[in-house]
Structures are given as C-alpha cells and as structure tokens.
C-alpha cells in the first residue's frame, strides 16, 4: 500500500465515474425489454446490499486492502491464491473495458484506425495516471466529475427540449410479470455495473475518515442507479425496445436523434466525451487496484515498477480476448456476467464475511 489518503468526496466521485464508465455505453438490461429501467433500479438495490457486505469486511479490517485481509481470514496459502485470482480478475475486467471502449471508437468514429492503436493510446494515458498514484487519480476524478455532470445535465435538457421522448414506448410495465425482470437482475445487472464496486474493497483503506465510508458508498451507488435507470428509460422511450436491443451503443443513437432549434444536432461528441471520462476512470481504478494487489501479493516494494508490465498485459489482453465483436459480446453476456462476476462479487465476499465474523467474535470474547 502506498501512503496516500483520499477524502469522502473523492471516493464518492470515483465510485460514480467508475460505475457509469462502460455502463453508459452498452445496452443495459434489454433482455427485460421495456422494464429495463426497473431492472436497473432493483439491481441498484442489490448493489447497495453488496456494498454493505464489502463495507462490513472493511469495518473488520479498516487499514488493509482486500488482498491482504483475505490472507488473514483464509490463512496465508489459500488467501494468497484467492488474492491472486482477484488480481487476475481486475486485470481481466480492465482489459474488457478497454476493448469495449476501443470497439466503440473504431465502430463509430475511426473505422480505419487499428483497434490496437486506439487501445494503446488510452492505456498510455492510464499508465501515466496510475503511476502517479491514487491521490492524483482521485483528484483527476474530481475534475472530470464536473465535466461529466455538465454533460449529463445538458444532454438531458437537450433530450427533453428536443421532444423526442415518447413514453408510450415504456408501456406496458411488467407485461410478462416480475419473473423476467428478476431473472435479468440476477443474471446480469446485479453484477454489471453495480457489483463491480468490489474493487473499492482495495481503495477503502485509503479513506481518511473511515466513518464516512458507508454513507458515501451507498449514496454513490444510489446516484448511479438513478442515472443509469433514467438513461435506459430515455433510450427506450426515444428509440423503442427493438432498436435499443439491436444497437451496440443505444445512448449514441439517442443522442444522434436530438435536434434542437435547427442547429443543436449531431451531438455525438457528448456521448464520446462522457464515455471517455467514465472508461478512463474505470480502467484506471481496475488497473490501480490490480497493481497494488499484485505488489502486495508478490512483495514488490515499489508498486510503480509494476505499472508498465501490467499495462502491457492489459493492452495485449484487450486485443486477444476476442477476435470479433460478436464473440466479445457473447462472452460478456453469456459467461462473464454470471460465471465470473457472481463468485468474485458475491460468493467469496459473503464467505469471507462469515468467517471474519466468527474469527472476530472469538477475538473479542478472548
């Protein structure tokens, strides 16, 4: 762990930007058709619950990151193995987010630029930021958050003023009952994007006032849930369910439809800016956490020495992870959401919490 402190506001900003990151870009919860916004709200509830689990673990071990307390809870050998898999998991997610972002830029704006070059440019930026440490990252986040809020607020004004919202597209609500909604929550949206706050188990120890961790985190996740739910509802009401489900980037399509006063049109840059900000923070957080975790695990004194190697690994992996977008998307959808996120975000933390609970009870008794 590096010697650094962040304050509650910075944590809040990091969580918000991190959650919005790639979730802004892709169609969320569209399996539930017009009830997608409801899925996201319920998913948010689950996310709040998951955050409480992570918070309780933090409560038992407020000074050390999760890769370290895993070792205390599970014993050195098993704990190290789990911690290593967490590091690998973070690297993998960073690579997937990077790939998704690169695909977006290549598809939408730079068809002739190689994916590798676009990914390389972003990863160079992230490498630089991560090398500077968590304090710089969170201050960058503070700065970008202002931008992001401006983008979101002005974009929503434009969408509303543009008169393209047709709320009939959102009806009927719960046409097929609650079952498909709950299924989508449990298969996808509990984990992406809400469960991904599991990375903050590594960042919480940096918080300067630990009593604020609970409120800050819950507020950030709540805000994100509301924003994402709103965006999904707007997407569906503007484009209709069918178009959203066929779109790779529904928010982009929505923003492209905005035409206000005859000259405020082709606002694609809004989408790109928002996604660049979010994805940048998201990759940086994953990256930072993976680096600190690896440094901690393998007893590397200067974690900064790991920056470039892990950056290169993320870059190579982002290219190698799939040979085309369909494969990438199917993997994400059919496999990663359920089979990868579920154990890392839910099962292992709950398990850890139970053991930690008993261990600490013994201690306090003794």
């Amino acid at each position: 762990m590096e010697k650094a402190k962040i304050n509650a506001y910075q944590l809040f900003v990091l969580i918000v930007l991190f959650e919005l990151g790639s979730a802004l870009m892709v169609p969320l919860a569209i399996e539930a058709k017009q009830d997608a916004w409801l899925v996201i709200l319920i998913g948010m509830g689950g996310g709040l619950f998951l955050y409480l689990i992570y918070y309780s673990l933090y409560y038992y071990y407020p000074d050390i990151p999760s890769t370290e307390y895993v070792q205390k809870i599970m014993g050195t050998t098993l704990g190290r193995i789990i911690a290593f898999f967490y590091v690998v998991y973070f690297v993998y997610l960073a690579a997937r987010v990077l790939r998704n972002f690169g695909e977006m830029l290549v598809t939408f704006a730079y068809p002739e630029t190689p994916l590798f070059v676009i990914n390389a440019l972003l990863i160079v930026l992230v490498i630089y930021t991560v090398r500077k440490g968590i304090e710089v990252l969170s201050r960058t986040g503070e700065f970008l958050f202002v931008f992001m809020s401006f983008l979101l607020i002005s974009a929503s004004i434009l969408v509303v003023v543009g008169g393209i919202i047709d709320s009939n597209n959102l009806r009927p609500i719960l046409a097929d009952g609650i079952q498909p909604v709950m299924k989508t929550v449990l298969m996808h949206n509990l984990y992406f994007p809400f469960g991904e706050v599991v990375v903050f188990t590594m960042i919480l120890p940096y918080l300067n006032r630990s009593e604020k961790a609970k409120r800050t985190g819950l507020m950030a996740i709540g805000l994100c849930g509301l924003i994402l739910s709103l965006i999904t509802a707007v997407n569906i009401s503007v484009l209709g369910v069918s178009l959203v489900s066929r779109s790779q980037y529904p928010l982009l399509s929505t923003i492209q439809t905005v035409e206000v006063a005859g000259f405020l049109e082709r606002l694609d840059v809004y989408f790109v800016l928002a996604v660049v900000i979010g994805v940048f923070v998201k990759i940086a957080v994953f990256f930072y956490v993976a680096m600190e975790g690896a440094a901690n695990l393998f007893a590397v004194k200067e974690s900064a020495r790991l920056v470039v190697p892990i950056g290169v690994v993320i870059l190579i992996l982002s290219i190698a992870v799939a040979s085309n977008f369909s494969e990438f998307f199917q993997e994400e959808h059919r496999f990663v959401h359920f089979y990868v996120h579920l154990p890392f975000q839910v099962i292992i933390p709950i398990f850890l919490l139970i053991i930690a609970f008993f261990k600490n009870r013994k201690k306090s008794k003794g």
């Binding site: 690297v91 590798f116 070059v117 690994v313 190698a320 040979s323």
Partner: protein, 84 residues
C-alpha cells in the same frame, strides 16, 4: 525479472482462461480458439507493429537493465574480492 514473471503469469492465466471460455461456452474447437486469440495480431499495419514492439520493449527493458546491472555489480564484487 520478478516483475516480468508476474506480468507473464497474469497474461498466461488470462489467455488460458479466455481459451477455456471459448471452448466450453461458445463451443469453438481448441485450435480455432487459439487462432482467435492470435489472429488480431496477424493483420497489422507497420505502424501498429512498431507500437506493439515498442510496448514489448518497455515491458522487457527495465527487467533487462536491472539484470545486467546486477551481473555487472556481481562481477565487480568478484574482482574486488580477487584483488586483495
């Protein structure tokens, strides 16, 4: 060297994981999924290739320099020991 080892370990674990996903869930044969991993790197522009090699260089260079420095130090120490 250790740093490089960590990076390679993570890379190998994740590449084999992505192969595993391909084979079990998308039902692609192993050879095809290996091809899928490699083929994005095959069709590369010269500029792309250059950047790629540059990154690999950055990956290897620090470990290599430290290794060389260590060896030099080691041999210097030996000489020093021999001198008296």
């Amino acid at each position: 060297m250790k740093i490089l080892g960590i990076a390679l370990l993570i890379l190998v674990v994740l590449i084999s994981f992505s192969l595993y996903v391909d084979v079990t869930f998308l039902h692609v044969s192993l050879t095809n999924s290996i091809k899928n991993v490699l083929n994005p790197f095959i069709v590369m522009d010269s500029v792309e290739l250059f950047i790629f090699v540059l990154f690999l260089f950055f990956l290897v260079a620090p470990s290599l320099t430290s290794y060389i420095r260590k060896r030099k130090k080691g041999s210097n120490n030996e000489k020093k020991q021999q001198q008296p």
